[in-house]
Amino acid sequence: MSRSTRTTAVPERGGLADRAATIAAGWAPTMARLLLGLTLAWFGYHELMTPRLWTGYVPGVSATSDFAIVLVLAHGWLLLVLAVAIVAGIGLRLAAAVAALLLVQIVLDLAVTGGLTDLTLRDVGVLGLAVCLIGETRQRAVLSS
């Protein structure tokens, strides 16, 4: 693993709060990366292991068809690979961008089929996390090339 050399601009005022702010500024992007990756990995794993449970959410395809299962498996596979890329910081911004696109599709699909529910808004939050990572360049604990 390597650490980014970019300096984090935090005013030097001393004190516990400032120290916490410094730590947070340095590690928050990394935490965001790990937590987003964990979320994607969890869904990817379950879509791969029990695809039948997820076919009801494939738009435009019969939930009982094998084609729906293939689509769920492909989606789960993509989520898993994206999760690894994001957690390890491999092609991070590209992976985050792809994840954001997937989440946009999920949010839109949920909004269309179920309206603005609590689940939809929860995924909007995850989408926000992915969007933030698209532009994030300060990362610690990433896999070096």
């Binding site: 039948r52 789960g76 690894v84 911004r93 090339s145």
Partner: protein, 180 residues
């Protein structure tokens, strides 16, 4: 290697390749077991709660898992098992029949279509997922109550249950024993 402006080194490529292969292996497993999750744990014909079943692994035996699909006539007669109240998932089992059905039970039944019909010799229970074909009905000669197991309400929203993996259906007799 540069991909869309991002540099991916040899180690990164190897890690992603390993993840991709692992994903393929899992996908092959998922494909081969693709029929295992159909209307998971719903339908009295498959009345075992799924996630609750796994949660209760350390407790006394598998909960309320009935035989494979079958109608009331050709399925084996359910036999009483352990008491529902003694199961670890009792706290998130909600009675949906007979009424009155509380708000928590209504929430637990989100996304599920459950019908119970009583006749002189018992109850006939049909359950399934909204929008999907119902499971075959199953007959419980000694059944007196029907419960929905919902481990997490957080996956329910509106009229949809976004994760059926933690749902199940349980029928109990007059002494609260799970019919399985």
């Amino acid at each position: 290697m540069r991909v869309a402006g991002e540099t991916v080194g040899a180690r990164g490529t190897a890690v992603l390749a390993a993840a991709a292969i692992a994903g393929i292996v899992l996908a092959v497993h998922g494909w081969s077991a693709r029929h295992n999750g159909e209307t998971p744990g719903l339908g009295p014909a498959a009345a075992g709660p799924t996630a609750p079943a796994s949660r209760s692994a350390a407790s006394q035996g598998p909960p309320a898992h009935a035989s494979p699909a079958g109608t009331g006539s050709d399925a084996p007669t359910p036999k009483p098992g352990p008491r529902l109240s003694a199961q670890s998932y009792a706290s998130y089992s909600f009675r949906v029949w007979p009424g009155p059905v509380g708000s928590a039970a209504k929430a637990a039944g989100t996304g599920l279509a459950i019908t119970v019909r009583r006749d002189a010799s018992g109850i006939m229970v049909t359950a399934g997922v909204v929008g999907q074909p119902p499971q075959p009905a199953r007959f419980y000669p000694t059944g007196t109550a029907v419960y929905v197991v919902e481990a997490s309400m957080g996956d329910d929203s509106g009229n949809s249950d976004y994760n059926l993996g933690d749902d199940g259906l349980i029928v109990t007799d007059s002494q609260g024993r799970i019919l399985q």
